[in-house]
Amino acid sequence: MTIMKSANRYLWIGYTAARSNLAYGGEVIYRCSFLTVILYIFLRLWKVVYAATGSDRVGGLTLPQMVWYLVITEAIYLSAPRVASEVDEDVRTGRLAVHLIRPLSYAGGHLSRAMGDRLVRFAINLTVGSVLALILVGPIPISALGIGMFFATLPAAFLLDFLGMFLIGLCAFWLESTSGLALLYTRTVMMFGGMFLPLAIYPAALQPILKVLPFASMLSAPGVMFVNPSLLLLKESIVIQGAAVAVFLVMVGFVQFVALRRLFSNGG
C-alpha cells in the first residue's frame, strides 16, 4: 500500500514538473532556433566531408543517417534538467539535511522531477528536430522494432545522466562552487558521449576507453540505435548501461553515506 502511495507521489511530482516546463514558451522558441542553426551547419559540414571521402558511408552511416543521429543526440543533450544546481542549493541552504534522513525519498523526489522536466523537453526537441531533418535530408529507413529498441535505450541513458548530475550536486559538501564541475561534466558527456560524431569515427586508440566510460551510453547508444538498430547492439547496450547504472548507484550511495557522516559530525 505504501509503495503505491509513494509511486503516486513521485508520478505527481513528475507531472507538475512537466507542466511547468510547457509554460516556458519563449524557451521553446529559443531552443528551436538553436536546433535549426546547428542542424543546418552540421548538414553543410557532413556534405563537404562525404563529398571529400567520395563514399556514401562514413563510420557506417549514410549522410541522412548522420543528420538524424545528430537530431537524437541533440534532443537528449538539450533536454538535460538542472539537477546538479538544485542539489547544490539543497546542500548549501541546509534543506538536504532534513531529507537525508530518508535518502531514498530525497533522491526519488529529484529523480521524478528531473524525469518530468526531461521528458517534456525531449519530446519537444525530438519533434522539432525531426521536422527539420525531414526538410533537410528527408526520412531514413526505420521500423517499428527499431523504434522500440531505440526507446528501450532511453531510460538507462536518462537515469545515468541523472545519477551523474546528482553526484556533482552532492560535491557541494566539499567544493565552494559546483558550477565549474557541472560544466566540465556536461562538456565531457558531449565529447565522450559522441554528440556530434558517432563514436565509431573517433580515433582507434580511444575506442577501448570510450567503451568503458558511461558517457557512450547516454548519447551515442540511443543515437546509433535510432539510425541503425541491431539486436546485437541492443544486447551490448543493455549490458553496458546496466553495468554503468550499477556502478553509478554504488558511487552515489557511497558519496551520500560520506556526506551524511560529514553532516552529522559538523552539525549540519
Partner: protein, 266 residues
C-alpha cells in the same frame, strides 16, 4: 580631436581599473567563471582535434586554420565584452528600463560611456583562451603574432558594433532582450565554423544580417595570406558593422529624447 581621443582612452582605462577591482572583490567567483569559459572553449578544440584526426582537410581548411579561427573569435569576443561589458546583453534592458537617463547626466557621449560601465567576467576567460590557443597551438612567427593581435582588436570591434546593433532594438521594439540575445547567439555560432562550408545566399547572409563573415572569414583570411590588403578589408568590414550599430543607436536615442518611446498595452 586627438586630445578627445586620449581623454576617452583614459576614461576607458579608469573603467577597466574599477571594473576589475569590483570583480576581484570576489576572486573565487571570478576565477571560476574564467576557468569555466576555458573548459567550454576547450571542449570545442577537442571536437575539432577529433574531427581533423579523421578528416584532415575541410574544403581547404586544416586544423591550424580552424584553431586560428577559434583563437581570433574567442580573443576578439573576450576583448570586446571584457572591456565593454555593457555591450553584452545589458544594452537592451538598460534602454527598456530607462537607465539611459543616468548616463546622460554625465558630460560624456552616452554610448561609449554606457558600454564601459561593466565588464563580463567570463569574457576574460575567452580572451585568455584565444591567446593561449594561438600562441601555444598555432605557434606563430613575429609577423603573424602582430597580425593576430591587431585582428583580435578588429574582431572585438565587430562584436561591440553588433552588440550595440542588437541591443538598440529596444528603442524600437520595447524590451527586446530575448530577440537581441538570440540574434547574437546565432551569429556567434555561425562565426565559429569555417565559412567555406557555406555558399551562395547563406554566404551573403553572413556578411549582412548575421555578420559572422566579418568575424570568421575576413580575419582568418588575413592571417592565412598575411596580406595588408586583406587586413585593410577586414578593418573596413569591422568599422562598417560598428558604424551600423552606432547609427541605429543614435537614431533610436533621438526618439528616446523626444520621449515618444512610451507605449503601453491597454
Amino acid at each position: 580631436m586627438f586630445r578627445l581621443f586620449v581623454d576617452y582612452l583614459r576614461l576607458c582605462a579608469a573603467y577597466l581599473r574599477i571594473n576589475m577591482n569590483a570583480q576581484l572583490e570576489y576572486r573565487g567567483a571570478f576565477y571560476t567563471q574564467v576557468a569555466a569559459m576555458f573548459i567550454n572553449d576547450g571542449a570545442w578544440v577537442v571536437f575539432w582535434l577529433l574531427f581533423f584526426t579523421r578528416f584532415p582537410v575541410l574544403h581547404g581548411w586544416s586544423l591550424k586554420d580552424v584553431m586560428s579561427l577559434w583563437a581570433t573569435t574567442t580573443a576578439g569576443y573576450g576583448i570586446a565584452y571584457g572591456v565593454m561589458g555593457n555591450a553584452h546583453r545589458r544594452l537592451a534592458p538598460a534602454i527598456a528600463q530607462g537607465e539611459l537617463d543616468l548616463w546622460m547626466l554625465h558630460p560624456r557621449a552616452v554610448l561609449p560611456h554606457l558600454l564601459l560601465g561593466s565588464t563580463n567576467p567570463s569574457a576574460w576567460g575567452d580572451a585568455a583562451f584565444g591567446y593561449v590557443i594561438y600562441f601555444g597551438f598555432v605557434k606563430p612567427n613575429v609577423q603573424q603574432a602582430l597580425m593576430f593581435v591587431v585582428l583580435s582588436i578588429v574582431v572585438a570591434v565587430v562584436f561591440v558594433g553588433f552588440g550595440i546593433l542588437t541591443g538598440s532594438l529596444s528603442f524600437y521594439l520595447g524590451n527586446a532582450s530575448t530577440l537581441s540575445d538570440q540574434w547574437r547567439d546565432i551569429s556567434i555560432t555561425f562565426a565559429t565554423y569555417p565559412p567555406t562550408l557555406f555558399e551562395g545566399k547563406v554566404k551573403f547572409l553572413l556578411f549582412t544580417v548575421i555578420p559572422a563573415g566579418f568575424i570568421s572569414y575576413l580575419p582568418v583570411q588575413s592571417l592565412r595570406s598575411m596580406s595588408i590588403v586583406d587586413l585593410l578589408i577586414a578593418i573596413a568590414g569591422a568599422l562598417g558593422v560598428l558604424a551600423a550599430g552606432v547609427g541605429i543607436f543614435y537614431f533610436g536615442l533621438r526618439r528616446y529624447e523626444s520621449g515618444n518611446l512610451i507605449s503601453m498595452n491597454g
